[in-house]
């Protein structure tokens, strides 16, 4: 090969060859599109919610009925007919379903993960892991009817006073729904713990239980905590199951009062569904409250995601 050929060869600009250019632009467009739609949705949420509040409505050129931000954030009654838009009446129900489902799903999910990762023999695991994932694929409205038709009647045998729609049943069913998520993500984190560490533990004379709980779980903590936060986000955002199971009666509760769980409530998501399916007129205050709730929900889940990021950084796997 002559030196001229070689020089030509070495200076060929492959990065800007047409196929490279084309694919690069295509991927760039896809990225822009997905980011743009997300931003557009957020912008829609914010502008529509702005039309709801009296502080911002004039800026949006809205006249007529508006609601006060302070009353929205601190009010404990949500009665549309009376113009009472206290989002706490909805937030407390969301908190209760989240808390209740967490109490059920986090321990059970981690226990399931420990079993799958540390105890189950490979055959059992190869059956159970996909089964879990199938469970995660059941449409959530089915879970809602399951709660209504089976869980609530079963609960009634213990608590005769329980309502047809109640937060306990909603909590239980959402808990069941998110177990697979906790179990599956935690199991992945535990399986990723190097076998070296287990060997070290057994070599020290640790029992299987001591190795699982004292070595593997702490080593997989970041993944386990991530699974918790994802599961909680899921519980907060869960819509169909709670709409069916918890009811539509917005009511302020103290989430730390166990008796309150026997009562019905209307979590944020369920309220939004009911607003949409009810006969509200486009452009009215009730319609715009939809976006105010949506924005509140968005802020909460966004905060959860930020926390999840921080947790993942704080407890990064370092083995």
């Amino acid at each position: 090969m002559s030196t001229d050929d070689l020089t030509e060869d070495l200076t060929r600009n492959t990065a800007n060859a047409p196929p490279e250019l084309l694919t690069r632009s295509f991927f760039f467009l896809c990225a822009v599109l997905s980011i743009f739609t997300t931003l557009a949705i957020i912008a829609l949420l914010v502008t529509e919610a702005a039309k709801f509040f009296s502080v911002t409505a004039p800026l949006m050129g809205i006249e007529g009925e508006t609601a006060s931000v302070v009353e929205f954030l601190t009010g404990t009654e949500w009665i549309i007919g009376e113009g009472k838009f206290g989002v706490l009446a909805l937030v407390t129900s969301t908190v209760m379903v989240t808390l209740g489902s967490a109490i059920i799903a986090l321990p059970l999910g981690v226990a399931t993960a420990i079993y799958l990762s540390e105890y189950a023999d490979p055959q059992v695991r190869s059956l159970l892991k996909p089964a879990l994932e199938i469970l995660a694929g059941v449409p959530t409205v089915v879970y809602g009817f399951f709660a209504l038709i089976y869980i609530t009647p079963a609960l009634r045998t213990v608590f005769p006073s329980i309502g047809t729609f109640n937060l306990l049943s909603a909590s239980i069913v959402v808990g069941i729904m998110i177990i697979p998520m906790v179990a599956s993500i935690s199991e992945d984190a535990m399986s990723a713990v190097p076998d070296d560490l287990r060997q070290a533990g057994y070599g020290m004379g640790a029992t299987k239980f001591e190795v699982s709980t004292g070595i593997v779980v702490p080593a997989a903590l970041s993944g386990i905590l991530s699974s918790f936060i994802l599961a909680l986000s899921r519980a907060i955002g869960e819509t169909m199951a709670v709409t069916v199971a918890a009811g539509a009666q917005a009511k302020f509760h103290n989430p730390f009062n166990p008796a309150a769980y026997l009562d019905g409530g209307s979590p944020m998501t369920a309220t939004m569904v009911n607003l949409l399916t009810g006969d509200i007129t486009g452009g009215g205050l009730a319609y715009r409250s939809l976006f105010a709730i949506g924005l509140t929900l968005f802020v909460i889940t966004f905060a959860m995601n930020v926390i999840s990021e921080l947790v993942a950084q704080r407890y990064r796997e370092e083995y």
């Binding site: 560490l197 060997q199 070290a200 070599g203 020290m204 004379g205 080593a219």
Partner: protein, 294 residues
């Protein structure tokens, strides 16, 4: 129960005449070294680990054949041989870590003190609490340095002053001076050599009878390796050390006894390190040692 048995046989009997033993050590060590004799650490040899016709299979493949040997107490016994000849497998027989490999099957008798560890009434967990193990790759837990060393004390409910035991173990592992101000920091922040010494401290903290080491320096640089070698020499004053190495010079430097395994899982020769390296009985051993192996 089995733990009781072992401790009766191996711990308490030496303590019946502790003064005698200690006196002998004090006086004999220096004079012994001057004369350059092997086995200067104790005047008499007591067997602590004894294998009788140990055979191991992984599924259909035999990894060890009729291994019979007696490992003396408070000495360093090296196991050398080419890769794949079953050294690690034999080490794992001693603390029954092979139990956890589904494919592995062990036959024969293996005594720790007077007890065959493969008897039905021996609990492998209890066995491993009396036999420490240090692995090829340093594997500290993702916990603090302190918690790493105290791990065995915690799971075994060993009472006493944990701070003092942790300090003592780290000193014995020649790590104390380097980490005494950072006991709360993660063991994983240490260098590879320090991690391995941390693992040694962790292994000796519960005061086991025997310490098994599987190529403990093979992942380390020469400086860290030489620290580990010095350390092993000191450990043998209080512990029985059984060390696998593929480095013949290392075996020659640090061990009192050497076992040579050759391909096929045979123990070809076992004896005083000096004799193995200077004048082995077996021709294959001689070839292996002089590098003519093939």
């Amino acid at each position: 129960m089995s733990q009781e048995n072992m401790s009766n046989d191996n711990v308490e009997s030496p303590t019946e005449d502790p003064t005698d033993d200690d006196m002998l050590l004090e006086t004999d060590v220096t004079s012994g070294l001057e004369e350059g004799t092997q086995g200067s650490r104790t005047t008499h040899e007591r067997t602590i680990v004894e294998a009788k016709d140990v055979n191991v299979w992984y599924n259909q493949d035999q990894a060890l054949r009729d291994i019979t040997m007696q490992v003396p107490e408070n000495k360093v016994t090296a196991m050398i041989g080419p890769s794949g000849c079953g050294k690690s497998t034999f080490l794992r027989c001693i603390n029954r870590m092979n139990d956890m490999i589904d494919a592995a099957r062990v036959e024969g008798e293996l005594y720790l003190g007077e007890k065959n560890v493969y008897d039905d009434d021996v609990d492998p967990v209890a066995l491993r609490r009396r036999v420490g193990m240090v692995f090829q790759k340093p594997n500290p837990f993702p916990k603090s340095i302190y918690d790493n060393v105290a791990y065995g004390l915690n799971i075994q409910d060993i009472g006493g002053d944990h701070d003092a035991i942790v300090e003592e173990s780290l000193k014995r592992a020649a790590l104390w001076d380097e980490v005494k101000d950072q006991l709360d920091e993660s063991g994983l922040d240490l260098s590879g050599g320090q991690q391995q010494r941390l693992c040694i401290a962790r292994a000796i903290a519960p005061d086991p009878e025997v310490i098994l080491m599987d190529e403990p320096a093979s992942a380390l640089d020469p400086v860290a390796t030489s620290k580990i070698e010095d350390l092993i020499d000191e450990l043998a004053e209080d512990y029985t050390v059984i060390i696998v190495t593929h480095n013949m010079q290392q075996a020659a430097r640090i061990s009192d006894k050497t076992a040579v395994f050759l391909t096929g899982g045979e123990l070809v020769e076992f004896g005083d390190t000096k004799k193995i390296f200077e004048n082995p009985d077996n021709e294959r051993v001689e070839d292996y040692i002089t590098g003519k192996f093939g």
